[in-house]
Amino acid sequence: MQKFSLNRRLVIIIVCVIVSFALMTVSVTLRNKKSTPPLVQQFGNDIVGLVDRVVAIPTNGLSGSVSAVSELLNTYQENQQLKKQVSELAQTKVRDQTLAKENKQLKKEMKLNASLTDYTAVSAAVITRTPSSWQSQVIINKGAAAGVKKNMPVMSGSGLIGRVAEVNKTNSKVELITDNNDSANRFAVQITTKSGKTVNGVLSGYKATTGQITMDNITTKAKLAKGDKVVTSGLGGVTPKGLYVGTVAKATGSDYGLATKLYINPATDLSALNIVTVAVSKQ
């Protein structure tokens, strides 16, 4: 009897492990291949997302008021710094407006409707974060109903933070670039060097110890300097051109010594995210 029950338990464990692996494989494959999850999962996620807001909104509000108090303390200093920046910004903004207008006219003349730089911004609030150390993922409160699609880039503050990994009707999951998943941080980017040359490449990973984004396999001869700005290049898909990623921190030889490897300081703090912007491209 004892032997029988031991065997039975072993069988149950093995069956559970096999079923678990099968389910995981299927859901990872579905996640990579399909643009939306199965309808049942989507529906379930929408309902859970709605219920979660009952818990998330008060807690997020509470943390907002706490940080408001702590931010009040260094308001004076910040105000002085910002005033200086604002006066510079006004000039840039006016110039930007003129250029945008000129650009629009030129496009009209060329009969170009939408180019790589065109996108509409959809802002969303972060509801919650995945409580897991393997997946740097946040859940935002906008989904397919607001025009969000899979693989669209997501920004916060001034810089790129990740891409949409899964879209439901009213919420979606955003995979941050800090995630070391194979597909999380493959953004096509370009760097314009001080001498005016453009270097193209693809983001390749995240270095957790220094908090820097890495970019590998650059074969250009152009000299990359510290502080050069990295922006998305708009090549190969749904990412619009010209989203700010960060600045070059260091350029070294890659692991095999043939190409250059870059370290990029991200433009935004990737751990404190409350409001994010999804760049919905017009194409």
Partner: protein
């Protein structure tokens, strides 16, 4: 007895509250909890389930359907939080099972509960690590996992156990 008590509704309500609080805590304290390379992961939902097993044994009259609810919570966790089905849906019921076996050998009280919870969190994080390695979600070495994830996670969750043990016991007694 279970059918007649408030636990019939209270158990799932608090279970889901704990599940959503895990996400909210991770979001609100993300600067402190996910300071790279270290990661503290909140497992309040496991705490609620483990405490359920510990207090179920307090007086022998209650037999809670914790395994079933653990599977439900695991399914919601997988679909809503991670998007990869088949991890927590098996790990959470396994934790309930492990806790039941341990609680039948050791008389559960505050200190032995702490030890049991230590084992449970190790099981959750260890199996989660193996699953994510198998699915190529992370490429970290085992030693890095022990130092950067398991250590801080254990510290955080054991602290939560110490803080919340008596409040949760009060809640279970109130629901009974």
């Amino acid at each position: 007895m279970y059918r007649l008590s408030k636990l019939r509704f209270g158990l799932p309500v608090f279970l889901f509250l704990a599940l959503f609080l895990d996400g909210s805590i991770s979001q609100v304290f993300s600067v402190q909890m996910f300071r790279y390379p270290n990661a503290m992961v909140s497992h309040l939902v496991v705490l609620w389930l483990v405490c359920g097993v510990l207090f179920e044994a307090d007086d022998g009259t209650f037999d809670l359907p914790l395994g079933r609810w653990a599977a439900v919570a695991g399914a919601v966790f997988d679909l809503y939080y991670t998007g990869i089905f088949g991890v927590a849906v098996f790990i959470f019921p396994l934790v309930v099972y492990v806790t039941r076996r341990l609680a039948s050998w050791i008389r559960p009280n505050f200190l032995s509960g702490l030890l049991i919870y230590f084992i449970d969190i190790t099981v959750v994080e260890g199996l989660g690590y193996l699953a994510s390695r198998a699915m190529r979600l992370n490429s970290g070495a085992g030693s890095a996992f022990l130092v950067n994830t398991l250590g801080p996670t254990l510290a955080f969750n054991l602290a939560m156990f110490v803080i919340l043990y008596f409040p949760i016991r009060w809640v279970y007694n109130w629901l009974k």
